[in-house]
């Protein structure tokens, strides 16, 4: 693995000066640390993906199939016919540049091809050359170029330097959706055997074993049972998750990061405590044990293949509706694709909270409710007994996850929860240009959270981390909250690099900390065994404040 430069080494190298040559004449600089490894043939064979081969980026030959050019052009033709949006996005861009400085990868690398307008042009130039008369005739004068192996390599580099976060689309006067173009471009790459290993390994594991982390059913149960025991140790409360239980009212689906990797595991403990607190009739599934969907990072088709398990299991178990955990891209898929993929979900009921009676009208079609909507509703109706002082050691700011914020408008719910589980004054916002629908991406989403890609990840996450640093220095923020498992996986690495004083927490973890149970043991620590204010090492500190 390439050595990652330190922040002090990285920043001086950042320049927004464009190269002297025109963009078509500049080839990508495949520097170790700034790209992901191509997928191992093993994973592609597992899921029957085309043209598996051992590939290495530094090699001249990328083992493309002999007729790769025909395959790509035919694929583009098919997609232009299937997705009118793609044709529209190719045709209507006027190169106004409103998107140019909105991309975290452009801000973090200074590479002009990370301006969304130019990233799209990498694909658009080929479209113009083969599908538009003006491009066929005038070629480069009309912004058209031949499809060559160098172009394919350039796509591989830059389409995996886009986290499909859609921040650029928010600022585009035409609403051109870069994420959709990136995804379709990645499909074209996949059609000739080019995928990235980190995403493909996760996809293959999920397809074969049930979750991105590759946990078979017994491992899933072992881990969740362990977290339930941990809950009992810290709070004295027995949380009793059930597995594959037919007839439960609700199926709960969470991202696998939450039951495997810290700090997500504390969020999982929070879910279990919350459900125990309200006596929810729910079950977990060892089959639908993954809410996330790395398949969607590779192709719509693979996204659909991985997504199938959620409805299949809801139907088999006979639940009424589905509750989903704190995951980002899971919600873009569930909210925007799922009902299109599977048609009317007539085997489920319109979600109604059994505790408050609230009908989740927004989930009428796909029948899935987000944990933040569900929890905020419980708090709003006074159904949770909360002690915000148990989070007094946490000074929080909130990172809106791209897919839940920009993708489905979950902006207020997490903030409402935060304000109810934290003492007044312990929550501060980052600058307005970096939150809510304008949130900066974590910089490592969409399957590129691989180790070998670390320099690029630290560059792409710089705008996010910079805003965190601002509130850390100004207000003493020590935690960054989020409702996404990819965030919980990638932000600790990012902040360790740029703002090591700030840790990461899920919002349901904070809920778990604050919940008061009638028969609990005396609470002296939070779920992470850290002293609460007034106890242990923090006893003295609280005393000083009182004076």
């Amino acid at each position: 693995m390439a050595k990652v430069p330190t922040p002090a080494e990285l920043l001086p190298g950042l320049s927004y000066e464009p190269p002297e040559k025109g963009w078509m004449d500049v080839k990508p600089d495949f520097r170790p640390g700034t790209y992901c490894n191509p997928a191992s043939p093993k994973w592609m064979e597992w899921i029957n993906y085309p043209y598996p081969a051992a590939r290495s980026v530094p090699d001249d030959e990328w083992a493309l199939p002999q007729d790769w050019k025909e395959i790509v052009l035919q694929g583009m033709d098919d997609r232009l016919k299937r997705f009118r949006s793609l044709k529209l996005f190719f045709d209507i861009c006027v190169r106004c540049g409103a998107c140019a400085d909105k991309c975290h990868f452009f801000l973090g690398t200074g590479d002009p091809k990370n301006m969304p307008v130019l990233r799209a042009e990498l694909l658009r130039s080929v479209y113009r050359r083969y599908f538009k008369t003006i491009g066929r005739v005038l070629s480069e004068i009309a912004g058209a170029r031949d499809l060559t192996e160098d172009v394919i390599k350039e796509w591989f580099f830059y389409l995996y330097q886009c986290t499909i976060c859609r921040r650029c689309s928010l600022f585009c006067p035409y609403g051109i959706d870069m994420a959709e173009m990136t995804l379709l471009g990645r499909e074209l790459l996949a059609s000739v055997g080019l995928n990235i290993d980190w995403a493909m390994a996760s996809v293959a594991q999920c397809y074969d074993k049930g979750s991105h982390i590759g946990a078979p059913p017994q491992a899933f149960k072992d881990m969740v049972d362990f977290l339930a025991e941990e809950n009992e140790r810290v709070t004295g409360i027995t949380t009793t998750p059930s597995y594959n239980r037919k007839g439960a009212e609700v199926l709960f689906v969470m991202p696998s990061g939450d039951y495997f990797a810290d700090p997500g595991t504390f969020t999982m403990m929070g879910y279990l405590l919350l459900f125990e607190h309200i006596g929810l009739d729910y079950t977990l599934s060892t089959y639908a044990a993954e809410g996330g969907n790395f398949g969607w990072f590779i192709s719509h088709e693979m996204g659909k293949r991985l997504n199938a398990k959620i409805y299949a299991e809801a139907k088999r178990l006979g639940v009424k509706w589905i509750l989903g955990g704190e995951c980002g891209h899971m919600w873009r898929v569930c909210n925007q694709y799922m009902s299109t993929w599977w048609g009317p979900v007539d085997f489920l009921e319109k979600p109604v909270s059994p505790i408050t009676g609230t009908r989740f009208e927004n989930a009428t079609v796909h029948k899935m409710v987000h944990i933040s909507e569900f929890t905020a509703d419980l708090i709003h109706h006074g159904k949770l007994n909360l002690d915000p002082q148990r989070n007094a050691h946490i000074k929080l700011t909130f990172h809106d996850s791209c897919n839940t914020a920009r993708g489905m408008g979950i902006l207020e719910e997490p903030r409402y929860i935060i304000n109810n589980v934290l003492p007044e004054g312990n929550f501060v916002e980052m600058p307005p240009n970096t939150i809510r629908e304008k949130a900066f991406c974590c910089g490592s989403s969409s399957g590129i959270n691989a180790n070998e890609n670390m320099e690029l990840r630290m560059q792409g996450g710089f705008p996010r981390a910079n805003a965190v640093r601002f509130v850390h220095e100004k207000y003493g923020v020590n935690h960054l909250g989020c409702i996404c498992a990819l965030d919980r996986a990638t932000l600790p690495t990012l902040l360790e690099y740029w703002v090591p004083e700030v840790g990461i927490t899920g919002i349901s973890e904070l809920v778990g900390n604050a919940l008061i149970f009638p028969d609990e043991i005396e609470r002296t620590t939070d779920l992470r065994d850290r002293d609460l204010v007034g106890f242990g090492e923090l006893a003295e500190e609280a005393g000083e404040e009182e004076e």
């Binding site: 490894n37 946990a215 495997f260 810290d262 996330g292 996986a489």
Partner: protein
């Protein structure tokens, strides 16, 4: 994928240097990773971690979550980092011959 030769043994490893197949694991592999990890001498605590990882993997098909590793061995995370400077995943799991975890991790 690449092959590594060490003390007369051949190992197939992935791009991150993890063993492709646990069946290839042996004491030579441990010695090989020990050197690349910069560990001077292996003691009983290293072996306690390696054995626990392998037992869990054989039973559950995946490396244990770090908190389970910590609880079963009785070693705090900080101590695991003292034993394996690259950490429980990149250091200990690699030495134990386990595949690296994927996804949101």
């Amino acid at each position: 994928m690449a092959n590594v030769e060490f003390k007369g043994k051949t190992f197939t490893v992935d791009e991150d240097g993890f063993l492709e197949n646990l069946d290839q694991w042996n004491t030579e592999w441990v010695e090989y990773v020990k050197d690349s990890e910069g560990i001077a001498e292996l003691n009983d605590e290293h072996w306690k971690v390696i054995n626990m990882l392998q037992d869990y993997y054989k039973k559950n098909g995946i490396a244990p979550m770090v908190r389970i590793l910590s609880k079963v061995t009785g070693f705090k995370l900080k101590h695991i980092y003292e034993l394996f400077p690259s950490g429980p995943g990149k250091g200990a799991c690699k030495m134990a011959g386990l595949a690296k975890p994927t996804g949101c991790v």
